[in-house]
């Protein structure tokens, strides 16, 4: 749910997804952060994605927290021993944002104890870069995503983070019958992600880290469901980040929209 492999959206297809993170908070109130994701395959080597983020902090309020525009570029035309994809994201979010799509720098649980009214006064304009490295081996996909984030203010340092994960379908062969509950429609995996400090203070101190098993179910109709409970690995981490999401892929969306604007010919 956090680690990316090197596969991009199919060209012309649109994936609409809703994801959410339910986070426990030791000081302060638990929260439920949700985001809408529109992912479009521009080319076989380029996927663009728009995120709209919001969150509800229990016993506090519900707020819209900003947007992100993500682009992923496949760097090599063919499959190689390791497959790199360049990830570039621009974020304009408030400090009340809690979707925790990635953990970076010195992100810790205490950052989220601030009440929404106060947190939403602070704004982050950030550029985030990731190198998505992924490899398939005997049915497994193993991916490593180092990341660097630069708030667009000269005085704020670069922040670093990582995500690593491995996943595998429950069956490697497709069934002869059409079915929703066939084992090949399910995949399971595990991922670990966390912060690595910043240019001023690099390293693991005052950082948070999570270990998260994940299960995904993809139906032939284009619907997918994903669930991943993430467990904090140190005292700076939330004890639990329960993530889940549902998505629907619309093949041929680009062509459909093109037709709509061209009319019949």
């Amino acid at each position: 749910m956090v680690t990316y492999d090197h596969y991009l959206e199919e060209p012309g297809s649109l994936e609409v997804a809703y994801f959410s993170t339910l986070g426990t908070q030791r000081a302060g109130h638990d929260f439920h952060a949700g985001w809408l994701e529109l992912e479009y395959g521009v080319k076989a080597w380029w996927t663009t994605e728009l995120y709209l983020d919001g969150q509800t902090t229990f016993h506090d309020s519900t707020v819209f927290t900003g947007f992100r525009w993500e682009n992923r570029f496949r760097l090599l035309q063919r499959e190689h021993f390791i497959n790199p994809v360049l990830y570039i994201e621009y974020e304009q979010i408030s400090e009340a944002d809690r979707i925790m799509k990635e953990i970076e720098g010195h992100d810790v649980e205490a950052d989220h104890a601030v009440p929404n009214a106060e947190a939403r006064q602070g704004h982050n304009h950030e550029l985030e870069l990731k190198l998505l490295l992924s490899k398939n081996f005997k049915g497994w996909n193993v991916a490593v995503n180092p990341l660097a984030t630069k708030p667009l203010l000269p005085s704020v340092p670069w922040e670093f983070g990582y995500a690593v994960g491995a996943s595998r379908p429950l069956a490697l062969k497709a069934s002869a019958q059409k079915c929703n509950f066939c084992r090949e429609n399910f995949s399971a995996g595990i991922e670990m992600y966390g912060g690595l400090g910043d240019t001023v203070s690099p390293g693991l101190h005052e950082t948070s880290h999570y270990l998260a098993p994940a299960v995904a179910w993809s139906l032939p109709s284009g619907w997918s469901l994903r669930v991943s409970p993430g467990f904090g690995l140190n005292d700076n981490s939330h004890r639990l980040l329960m993530r889940w999401g549902v998505s629907r892929e619309f093949s041929g969306f680009g062509e459909m929209v093109g037709k709509l604007f061209r009319g019949r010919q």
Partner: protein, 149 residues
């Protein structure tokens, strides 16, 4: 806030429309060379020589058909006859290619020309697809068909 939502939505939709139009005008001007089979000839010798490990598996074709309908038919047509986005797979160039060659193209895609890499499907599923593609009937050009009669 509402204006921001609308603005972002309009920007995203505009990008999709512009890119869809660009693809269409390219195709109209004959500048799109997606529909050739040159990629098949680029398969390395070692890849070409690979045999389908599921060639004797009787269920492979049925599984491959399901996968084809789910992942390939949108571009290549329901019977592999070709569509607006993907070339026909019932032509001799594909049907006469070795199983290893077809598997190699499936695995690597033809990214520059719009075909994604399909290595996200496990190797066994890609071989099931190769098995199914073998069962598609070759399109005989009308002239050749009447000559045969």
């Amino acid at each position: 806030m509402k204006a921001l939502f609308l603005g972002l939505g309009a920007l995203f939709l505009g990008t999709v429309v512009a890119l869809a139009q660009a693809d269409r005008s390219k195709a109209r001007n004959g500048g799109d060379a997606r529909f050739d089979y040159a990629e098949l000839s680029k398969a390395p010798e070692k890849a070409r020589a690979r045999q389908n490990p599921l060639a004797a598996d009787e269920t492979a074709v049925a599984g491959g058909r399901n996968l084809f309908e789910r992942h390939c038919a949108e571009c290549h047509g329901e019977s592999g006859e070709g569509g607006k986005k993907g070339p026909s797979l019932v032509v001799p160039e594909v049907q006469d290619a070795s199983p290893g060659t077809v598997f190699w193209v499936l695995t690597n895609g033809v990214v520059r020309r719009g075909m994604p890499v399909w290595s996200k499907l496990p190797e066994a599923q890609r071989w099931q697809l190769v098995s199914y593609l073998r069962t598609l009937k070759i399109d005989t050009p009308p002239a050749a068909a009447s000559a045969a009669k």
